[in-house]
């Protein structure tokens, strides 16, 4: 006991130094501004101002194990795996912006017996406010059993606790589930870390970009390219059950929409038509696919059962009506149309009735996306620059979330709190994926192997 107190005192006195040695930050540093022409500079960097945030302190020591057994997880045997899990949780909570987490690199190890019975006094002495303690062990079937427990150190109380079984190669999901549990319990928001993102990976010169369909975890891990780049791929969307991806491909020389099946790595056409088709979307229950089709130059929105069948035309005005995003209850669709003379945002019932405009604030409004919480519509506001903005489904309360040369195509994190979009750099045209909180704070770049655009966020995984 005395020895432990002495050790902890040592740690405490060294705490300010240790607290700075956080696990490697996976967020790429913001690119420096560069001037290309006499006109404008490069990317505008938004420094995230955390002064008014809760920045709730939360300590996450390495997960303990009953015995250091080998696993087929990429992070190794259960000992190092326990530390890797804690690091993923730390990164999730730090990138989110609401917390000031301290990760396993700066904390003492805990024993297996402590996992559900923390040494509260010792943690208090360290200055810990909230505490996550967990364990990882190997089951008889070789699978991983992971437990995750959240404690309020001051109240000496457990706030939440869960456990999961995962195959070893899915160990990161266990970490995201734990981060989700802590995040949801402490912020009151819905979880979102255990999710995946589909997007377009870009390389090559600006006048002939190679564009490949790609997928990754919400933190950029487990990255995978799905197409070779031989045919241009655009605007992907994960199905709500994560089994397929809708996307647009120029495989046969014209824009066609495919459903890519992730289990078999095969794809089928959504609709057999010689007309060009664009902007595929899923309904929240996965039962419908929206797509836009151009006939003799006029583009309108259609829906078709996701299992196949007859298409039903939803809009039929001259001009361009395109895109579409369902309300979370599936009863309404928000879309963009230039029927009034310029791109504006409209809402209609899911069967196409009662189409009415909601954007009346001058300039143009495009790419509307309904929040999974139903209370906001994110969209691209075009008034000179292209900026990410939100408004209510009635078109009120317009707020800008970003202020750069060209930000577009917002999609929502599954909890309706964070918006993901892509930013194009003036001149070079290089694209990258960024995220911003609904309050406009914590704007950060999502690291990707190469340039990236058209990000689409899937739901929380079951």
């Amino acid at each position: 006991m005395m020895f432990r107190a002495a050790v902890l005192t040592l740690f405490l006195s060294a705490a300010p130094v240790l607290a700075q040695t956080l696990p490697i930050d996976p967020v790429a540093p913001p690119p420096a501004s560069t001037t290309t022409t006499a006109d404008q500079g490069g990317l505008s960097v938004t420094v995230s101002d955390t002064s008014d945030w809760q920045d709730l302190g939360i300590d996450i020591p390495a997960f303990a194990t009953d015995a250091d057994k080998p696993t087929t997880a990429s992070a190794g045997s259960t000992g190092p795996l326990g530390r890797a899990i804690a690091e993923v949780i730390t990164a999730d909570l730090r990138n989110n912006g609401l917390f000031k987490p301290v990760g396993p690199g700066a904390l003492p190890a805990i024993s297996y017996g402590e996992v559900k019975a923390p040494a509260f006094d010792a943690w208090s002495a360290r200055g810990a406010v909230m505490l996550v303690q967990g364990s990882v062990s190997v089951g008889d079937d070789g699978g991983l059993a992971v437990s995750c427990n959240l404690f309020d150190v001051g109240l000496k109380q457990q706030l939440a606790g869960k456990s999961w079984s995962f195959a070893p190669q899915e160990w990161r999901r266990a970490a995201h589930k734990c981060a989700d549990m802590a995040y949801a319990r402490l912020s009151g928001e819905n979880p979102f870390f255990d999710s995946r993102i589909a997007y377009i990976a870009e390389t090559g010169p600006k006048n002939h970009r190679m564009k490949r369909l790609a997928i990754m975890d919400s933190d950029g891990a487990n990255h995978r390219f799905l197409t070779t780049g031989q045919a241009m791929a655009l605007t992907p969307r994960y199905s709500p059950d994560y089994k397929s991806i809708l996307y647009l491909s120029y495989l046969d020389g014209s824009p066609r929409i495919f459903v890519y099946d992730l289990a078999s790595n095969t794809q089928r056409l959504v609709t057999a038509t010689h007309n060009p088709t664009f902007a595929p979307r899923w309904s929240p229950d996965g039962k419908w696919i929206l797509y836009s089709m151009a006939i003799s130059g006029n583009t309108n929105i259609y829906r078709i059962p996701s299992t196949g069948g007859r298409s039903e035309q939803l809009t039929s005005t001259p001009g361009i009506s395109i895109g579409g995003s369902y309300s979370p209850d599936g009863t309404r669709i928000v879309f963009e149309s230039d029927r009034s003379g310029s791109q504006q945002v409209y809402v209609m019932n899911a069967d196409g009735t009662d189409q009415h405009r909601i954007s009346f604030f001058g300039g143009k409004a495009a790419t509307p996306e309904w929040s999974p919480r139903g209370d906001q519509i994110a969209f691209t506001r075009i008034a000179g620059n292209l900026r990410i903005a939100v408004m209510t489904p009635q078109g009120q309360g317009l707020r800008y979330l970003t202020d750069s040369w060209q930000d577009e195509a917002p999609t929502w994190a599954p909890n309706g709190r964070i918006i993901q979009f892509f930013r194009t750099e003036q001149g070079s045209g290089k694209a990258s994926i960024w995220q911003v909180d609904l309050t406009g704070r914590n704007e950060r770049r999502l690291p990707t192997p190469v340039d990236a655009s058209d990000p689409a966020w899937g739901p929380v995984r079951q």
Binding site: Q40, T235, P276, T299, I320, E336, A366, T367, G429
Partner: protein, 174 residues
């Protein structure tokens, strides 16, 4: 030489003479056809070794003197009157080679959102196609493809570059 060796030689001589008798200049039973009238070379397609093959995509570009592209104002898709002579020249070539097909490519500048630009590019391709059709080109010969903002011809981020990128290009299929 004995008298016996003369006979084979004589037989060969006689056989040869008989064979030669078949090659006497006697008219064959059927005459070859009379040569037709002299064929004048086509006016536009003098088959020199340097010129492009008639009816080829290269020939089209030579005929229109490189003017395979028309341009559009920002966010617009109507054919500018200034571009009508360009399309008229294209229609002339297409009339000369009624078997040839062409694709109208529609393009946009980068200062717009991706989906809408795909649709706008399709509008521009269709506008060019409709004008050619109004000049007598059969619509079944003209396909349209939109590339939205994906294939700029000028990669700069300036109004001048954007004006060049808002275009419809007529591509003859070889």
């Amino acid at each position: 030489m004995t008298q016996r060796s003369f006979r084979p030689a004589l037989a060969v001589l006689l056989a040869g003479a008989a064979a030669l008798a078949g090659c006497a200049s006697k008219a064959p039973p059927q005459l070859p056809p009379e040569p037709g009238p002299a064929v004048a070379p086509a006016a536009e397609t003098s088959p020199t070794l340097q010129g492009p093959a008639p009816g080829s995509a290269a020939d089209f570009l030579a005929f229109v003197m490189g003017a395979d592209t028309i341009h559009f104002d920002y966010d617009k898709f109507d054919v500018n009157p200034a571009d009508m002579p360009t399309l008229q020249k294209q229609a002339q070539w297409l009339a000369k080679y009624p078997g040839k097909h062409a694709t109208l490519e529609g393009h946009c500048d980068e200062r717009g959102t991706r989906d809408y630009n795909l649709a706008l590019g399709e509008k521009r391709a269709n506008a060019a196609k409709n004008y050619l059709v109004s000049l007598g080109v059969d619509p079944s010969r003209l396909a349209t493809v939109s590339y939205g903002k994906e294939r700029p011809i000028d990669p700069a981020s300036t109004p001048e570059a954007w004006a060049k990128n808002r275009r419809a290009v007529t591509v003859v299929i070889d």
